[in-house]
């Protein structure tokens, strides 16, 4: 969040930050319009994740030391908490996807609280949407490949109901599985990051405004509350960032499994 630039547009009264926090101009004069802060740091985050895991697993030893220890902790966490409960015996085969998803999203989310960057990449819905669409195509491809092009679509429908009920239920099932499931998958991550960034911007702006910009006797207490809430919310946001990366990867594992095997 950029307190100064928001303040510069305001007048004498306190103005809460709005969605304009998420609009960025091109990085420099004459740059193409897509070259903004979020896109640059999205690529940067991906490179950081690559570098971390290259240094961990580029030259693996039998007895892990240094970075390899940390990398293996991450691997074991993703395998035991996300992979095994959902994918079972197929876990090893899908670990590269799950590892990349989890650590890329976590890195993007952590950018929200790193000074200078201070922007969660996933709060632009394009980024989670691309990841969710990728998972969606994997799901449908696996389903058609493993269960057959017709069986995959009929397996979704519960068997043994009276015929007229199917007319009522089948549209709900297909709309839910093929359109709304990827949509909610992306929106969960996006909405949490968007709201979290907004909350942090609001409280830090309250603190900045009432203590530094327009200090008054009455407003000072409000400013102190704003600063305290900023600290608390930053800690809370760091937890939410981890949780959302975990949930996104967990849902990806769930969707991949639903393509690999029929549900019942």
């Amino acid at each position: 969040m950029n307190a100064q630039s928001v303040l510069a547009t305001g007048g004498e009264e306190f103005k809460a930050p709005g969605p304009e926090l998420f609009d960025f101009p091109p990085l420099f004069e004459g740059a193409p319009t897509w070259l903004t802060k979020p896109t640059v740091f999205a690529v940067f985050g991906a490179l950081v994740v690559c570098a971390v895991f290259w240094s961990a697993f580029g030259n693996p030893k039998l007895v892990p030391r240094g970075m390899q220890n940390i990398g293996e902790m991450g691997y074991i966490f993703v395998r035991d908490q996300i992979g095994r409960p959902f994918l079972g015996k197929n876990t090893e085969q899908w670990m590269p996807v799950l590892m990349s998803l989890f650590f890329l999203i976590w890195m993007w989310n952590i950018f929200a609280v790193i000074p200078v960057i201070q922007f969660p990449i996933a709060s632009h819905i394009a980024f989670p949407a691309v990841l969710a669409i990728a998972v969606y195509f994997i799901k449908v491809y696996l389903g058609i490949k493993n269960q057959g092009p017709v069986k995959y679509f009929t397996n979704l429908i519960p068997a043994g109901l009276p015929k007229p009920i199917y007319v009522l239920l089948v549209p709900i099932e297909y709309l839910s599985t093929f359109i709304l499931a990827p949509f909610t998958h992306a929106v969960r991550l996006f909405a949490n990051m968007f709201a979290g960034h907004m909350i942090l911007a609001f409280f830090s702006l309250v603190g900045f405004w009432f203590i530094f910009e327009k200090p008054t006797a009455l407003g000072f207490g409000v400013g102190i509350i704003g600063v305290i809430m900023t600290c608390l919310m930053t800690a809370f946001e760091m937890f939410i960032q981890f949780l959302q990366a975990f949930l996104f990867t967990m849902l990806a594992a769930m969707y991949i499994q639903s393509g690999l095997e029929a549900e019942h």
Binding site: P85, F86, L169, I172, L175, S176, M254, A262, E263, H264
Partner: protein
């Protein structure tokens, strides 16, 4: 999946599956049947069709989730 090779964690997986897909089932039920009710409202001019469609959609979505996930794990 037949009953012989059911592992104990399958119940947990199905439960997580159901819990995470419940909102999208409810939303799609509301969208389809509420949307149909909205179209009827546009056609006939009686506002009552939209809420009736929404409620029917929710009831059907809850029934679908119950049929898919709740019925066989008891």
């Amino acid at each position: 999946m037949n009953e012989q090779n059911r592992r104990p964690e399958d119940g947990q997986r199905e439960f997580a599956d159901a819990a995470w897909s419940a909102p999208s089932y409810l939303l799609s039920g509301m969208l389809i049947w509420g949307g149909l009710g909205w179209l009827l409202t546009k056609w006939t001019g009686w506002i009552g069709f939209t809420p009736i469609g929404l409620v029917i959609g929710i009831v059907l979505a809850i029934y679908l989730i119950y049929v898919k996930y709740g019925r066989d794990s008891v």
